[in-house]
């Protein structure tokens, strides 16, 4: 056990005992030393006196050479126990008489008298002094003492002092063990208290104070600390409780929020489901609506032709009314679907590069009958530097179509003008389309919600002029979709000016994916001369469509083979190697995309141009899978004829997508692959 780790009690005892013992030892040693030195001195004095007496007593014997008498005198020293030897030397320095203590076996006696004096020699004390009689020197006396007296005295003293020391130490031990409690007891009690505090975490106990000394102050400090800890502890407890409450509240809040989140998630799911249901409904409806419309319009056209052939002109007007109403209904459905698609954010862009001037001229050419209807004149002004534009040409056409048809619709006996120019702002280049009319104009109030859906200037207008009122809204959205903007100025009764700015290069992320598949070459649009009759394979599950298509194509001078599903179509294609294939998408069994893939995967059939004729609006997909053109149902016969004419000569060429001008319907069909 290390000394430093001794208990306080032990240390106190040790200190006391060490101190007292050291003091005692030092005191005893000095006392013993002093006494022994003085006793030694006394002894030497005593021996000198002895020598004096012996010398005196033996002087006569020396004088009379009485050896025996001298020996007798020396023998008297027998009484002195510590005298070991006595020798008398004559004047001739020869030994005259001697005495040796009985128990000394071999005395070491000097053969000649040593020098006079008193000296300590080893453990012996020696006295040498002259012997004289009446001042006459007779010889020398030598006395030797073994200081046995001194030794025994030293032993006695040492023993006594040892006993004294032991007794004193015992006494000191007794006193120290009694008095050390003065210091150790408060400390031990303090330690006990501390143990209680630390073991039981009980901060309410207090250490007992004994005396008003340093330890007392230490205990006071400890107690103060305890009360502070107690306060801190209770504060901490309170804070803990508060925290617990807050945590509970927070947990409650979290649960509430989670519930709210779940609710909102459920609401979102519901909304999504609703949206999906709506989309599905719309898709279904559009399909269901357009399928009979296809029949109505198609057959009415057929009837019209047959009537004209038979010359029953009176009925032509009726059939035309059916046609016009059907077409109106179709455009209405298309507009509604476009809008819903835009709102759903599902309207994609199909970007291609085209010649602006050419595109406008084609538009204008198709518009001449409409312009003429209300006795208007159309003025076209194209800047010379228009050049090429990269945009969704279908949507640009639709915007212009809407603007021009509106202008024509609301103007009679006036002028409709379109001018196209290239403008430039600090960051990009634009193509500006401006359509001006001298029609009824729009009041300022009407202008504010001009681009809202179903917001024609007046309800009466719809009745008077027809139209869904969706054209401007859709055009506006299309322009925004392509990064452009739309503006209108108008004065009631004087006419309106609609201006559209579109970037020369439209870039959207959606367009990027399809970009690589595209190759816009305006020259590809060059019409090809019609050649001899060739076979066209029509693949469609709808017998009405098959019937219409074949009738119409036969009329146009083609040999037509029809297939009711994908499998049959593919088989026929392999066998007859048609010049051109028209392909529906939504079919039982293998759908149009699957047939297209198989056709393009077959090296013998891959070169046959495939024109997709479908309700599904996914031209991007069709082009990416290798279709040559994409025509939306209901089929515009003029457009289809035009496309077929173009593809007739392109058999051996690389398939190139052909820009097509078509009133597109939009559809989001969940059933499409």
């Amino acid at each position: 056990m290390k000394l430093q780790n001794l208990s306080i009690k032990g240390k106190l005892m040790l200190i006391t005992m060490l101190t007292s013992t050291v003091a005692l030892v030092l005191f005893s040693a000095s006392f013993l030393l002093y006494d022994l030195i003085s006793f030694r001195h006394f002894l030497s004095e005593d021996l000198a006196t002895q020598a004096e007496i012996i010398g005196y007593n033996s002087a006569a014997a020396m004088a009379f050479k009485d050896e025996a008498a001298a020996t007798v005198t020396l023998t008297a020293l027998k009484a002195k126990e510590d005298v070991t030897a006595a020798v008398l030397y004559g004047r001739d320095e020869k030994l005259f008489a001697r005495y040796v203590r009985a128990n000394v076996a071999q005395p070491s006696l000097p053969s000649v008298p040593p020098l006079e004096g008193i000296r300590f020699k080893g453990s012996y004390l020696e006295v040498v002094q002259p012997v004289s009689l009446n001042g006459e020197n007779l010889g020398t006396l030598f006395l030797q003492s073994d200081m046995s007296q001194w030794n025994s005295r030293a032993k006695r003293y040492a023993t006594f002092l040892l006993m004294f020391m032991v007794a004193s130490d015992l006494l000191a031990l007794l006193i120290a063990s009694k008095l050390q409690t003065l210091i150790s007891r408060p400390i031990l009690r303090l330690e006990d208290t501390m143990h209680v505090v630390s073991a039981q975490k009980n901060y309410e106990v207090r250490a007992l104070k004994f005396y008003d000394d340093e330890i007392g102050r230490l205990i006071d400090g400890f107690n103060t600390m305890l009360s502070e800890i107690q306060q801190g502890d209770s504060a901490l407890q309170a804070a803990n409780d508060a925290l617990k409450t807050q945590t509970q509240e927070l947990e409650g809040e979290i649960i509430q929020r989670k519930r709210a989140q779940e609710e909102s998630l459920a609401a979102k799911r519901t909304a999504e489901n609703a949206s999906r249901a709506k989309s599905s409904f719309l898709a279904n409806m559009s399909h269901e609506l357009r399928t009979p419309l296809n029949a109505i319009i198609g057959y009415s056209e057929m009837i019209e032709e047959e009537i004209q052939d038979t010359g029953q002109f009176r009925n032509v007007q009726d059939v035309k009314k059916i046609q016009s109403a059907g077409k109106h209904l179709l455009s209405l459905i298309n507009d509604v679907l476009d809008l819903s698609k835009i709102e759903a954010g599902k309207m994609g862009l199909h970007l291609e590069t085209f010649d602006v001037a050419q595109m406008v001229q084609e538009m204008v050419a198709t518009f001449q009958p409409t312009v003429a209807k209300n006795s208007n004149t159309l003025e076209v002004s194209l800047a010379e530097d228009l050049g090429l534009m990269r945009a969704d040409v279908t949507k640009v056409r639709q915007i212009l179509f809407n603007l021009l048809s509106n202008a024509c619709k609301f103007t009679s006996h006036g002028t409709v003008s379109i001018d196209v120019a290239r403008t430039e702002t600090s960051d990009r280049q634009w193509i500006r389309f401006r359509v001006r009319d001298t029609g009824i104009g729009i009041s300022p109030e009407q202008q504010t919600n001009l681009f809202e859906e179903f917001a024609q200037a007046d309800v009466s207008i719809a009745r008077k002029f027809g139209g869904t009122g969706l054209g401007l809204a859709i055009s506006h959205r299309f322009a925004q979709l392509m990064g452009g903007h739309f503006s209108a100025e108008s004065e009631l009764g004087k006419g309106s000016i609609f201006t559209v700015h579109l970037p020369t290069t439209v870039s959207t992320e959606a367009a990027e994916a399809a970009k690589s598949k595209e190759n816009s070459d305006p020259s590809a649009a060059a019409p090809q001369p019609q050649s001899q009759a060739e076979t066209i394979l029509v693949i469609d599950d709808d017998p009405a469509v098959r019937d219409l298509m074949s009738r119409f194509l036969v009329k146009s001078g083609f040999h037509v083979v029809v297939a009711a599903d994908g499998e049959e179509g593919f088989r026929l294609a392999k066998r007859i190697r048609p010049r051109i294939i028209t392909l529906d998408v939504v079919m039982p069994g293998i759908d149009g995309w699957g047939v297209l893939r198989r056709l393009k995967a077959d090296p013998e059939l891959a070169g046959i141009p495939v024109i997709m004729v479908t309700i599904v609006d996914n031209e991007v997909k069709g082009v990416s899978l290798g279709s040559s053109s994409y025509v939306m149902k209901p089929v515009d016969r003029a457009l289809l004829t035009d496309l077929i004419e173009r593809h007739r000569g392109a058999r051996s060429l690389n398939l190139k997508p052909v820009p097509i001008g078509v009133r597109r319907s939009s559809e989001d069909d969940p059933r499409k692959p």
Binding site: N57, A60, A63, F64, K65, R91, D92, K94, N134
Partner: protein, 191 residues
């Protein structure tokens, strides 16, 4: 004479330097009396006389040799230049009938044995230390007498006689002497 003196001196030196040998040597006359002369000197030193015994404080101790001188001059030689208790020595040669009262020490030679009693009677009442060289000298009333024991020179002392003469013989001297009982002067005549 001169040669003799040198020899005697040498002898003296020898005896003084080597007393033990002198003690143990054969008692030839010359060496015996040389020793006895030394004894006499020592007696003088260990004896106290009353002050009245001397005419003056520094008066010498007078030693009288009564009868034929056995020392043959060695006594004078021994005492030459010596002192005892601050007094010097004077040696006188006396004959029967000479005046004795000036003496402090009287050596009665053996030649005077026939009228020894008369001599002792004569000196009674005088403060004279009597020294004899005759058997029974002390017994007959003398104070100190030389005797020979085992071939060694010793002496005997009559303390009472000395006391009567008011002479104090030192106890140290007495401790070495054979003490002789004191008898009446008449009894001394008996042998």
């Amino acid at each position: 004479m001169r040669t003799l003196g040198i020899i005697a001196a040498c002898l003296l030196c020898a005896t003084l330097a080597l007393p033990s040998r002198a003690q143990t040597s054969s008692s030839s006359d010359s060496s015996e009396y040389l020793i006895k002369a030394g004894f006499i000197y020592n007696f003088a030193k260990l004896t106290e006389w009353p002050a009245s015994a001397f005419p003056a404080p520094d008066s010498p101790i007078v030693i009288g040799i009564l009868g034929s001188d056995p020392f043959e001059g060695t006594l004078e030689q021994v005492l030459q230049g010596k002192t005892a208790n601050g007094r010097g020595f004077v040696v006188k040669h006396l004959k029967w009938g000479s005046e004795l009262k000036d003496c402090n020490i009287l050596f009665v030679s053996a030649s005077e044995t026939p009228h020894l009693d008369q001599i002792l009677h004569l000196v009674k009442g005088m403060t004279i230390l009597t020294i004899g060289d005759t058997p029974n000298f002390a017994l007959r009333g003398g104070m100190i007498n030389f005797i020979l024991e085992d071939g060694k020179i010793h002496f005997e002392a009559n303390v009472e006689a000395a006391k009567q003469a008011d002479i104090n013989i030192s106890s140290r001297l007495l401790s070495l002497a054979r003490i002789v009982p004191h008898t009446v002067s008449d009894a001394s005549k008996a042998p």
